[in-house]
Assembly symmetry: C2
Homo-oligomer: 202 residues x 2
Amino acid sequence: MSSKRIAGPEIERLIQLLAKVPGLGPRSARRAALHLIKKKEQLLGPLAHAMADAVDKVRVCSVCGNVDTSDPCMICSDPRRDDSTIVVVEDVSDLWALERAGVQNARFHVLGGTLSPLDGVGPDDLTIAKLVSRVAAGGVAEVIIAVNATIEGQTTAHYITDQLAGMGVKVTRLAHGVPVGGELDYLDEGTLAAALKSRTAF
Amino acid sequence: MSSKRIAGPEIERLIQLLAKVPGLGPRSARRAALHLIKKKEQLLGPLAHAMADAVDKVRVCSVCGNVDTSDPCMICSDPRRDDSTIVVVEDVSDLWALERAGVQNARFHVLGGTLSPLDGVGPDDLTIAKLVSRVAAGGVAEVIIAVNATIEGQTTAHYITDQLAGMGVKVTRLAHGVPVGGELDYLDEGTLAAALKSRTAF
């Protein structure tokens, strides 16, 4: 019954495609489609235009791997950024998260994933060689490896550290510890042990 | 900090517009935008196209008030439908829900809302006059009022029943009772009282 056609093929296709957007499922895609259709002038039209615009203009930054409408991206072409620090992240979403936090005025480097031999992801599938040549080009004092605190992330971090060894660059990683606002009772032992080990003076 | 620009204006605009889609918020809009950008050829492009198509082609059916890419809509122009029954609903989403259930092979009539004096919605803001003229045109034996079981819905149902009085048409409404699969323990007293009152023989 769920395959019963309820409207013309154009509306069906819109619902089908909306259902593939992360955060929407088949049911919420119908709701979204109806809302968009009702707000045709205010929302559906502008959104269609913005999407077509993104298809035309968005590209991967040839320097750092970020996605943007210019190449080099907004961050790579920003003259006020500190060239001596490169923050290495797994994915563009991590770059966006760090930028929202707005704590580091550095350059970035997007790996495009993590090393994962079981999934067939080796060093050549990531942008590690490009990172090494960015460092080799000079002017970089510190590489901050901001990958996820997963096994794959840590493996990748170790591999990168090895690749950068002897290049005269400081390699650092994010601190492990208690999340701000977090309750000790809910944290795993690994995090608690790391937080205790890295305790700081009051 | 949340207003910090993380990418070019085209990407920012895409995120802003996606955040207005029901089911997505500011955070999930970013996630959705990034996913769409990564699947530019498979998803973003086709979705932009489907939306532009919908903007061009979707219109409100001049007979029943449904939205579709043809006017009269697919349901109004379907020759296999039973002309003698009209199911009256508040909104297109209710029409879609009933069609998915696929229980009634009838025609529909979308009111476009419910009577709500406090919100300034009177009979002229709904398609009640159009419903009365559809019935007056003849050939209709039954009008099933399938509005929501809310105060406004029931007020609207009574008003429509009054308007159709003396036109020789049977006016019915949906049964109240226990939802299929529902547990008595979780139901309100009104529903339980209605289900008991309308009990049927085994």
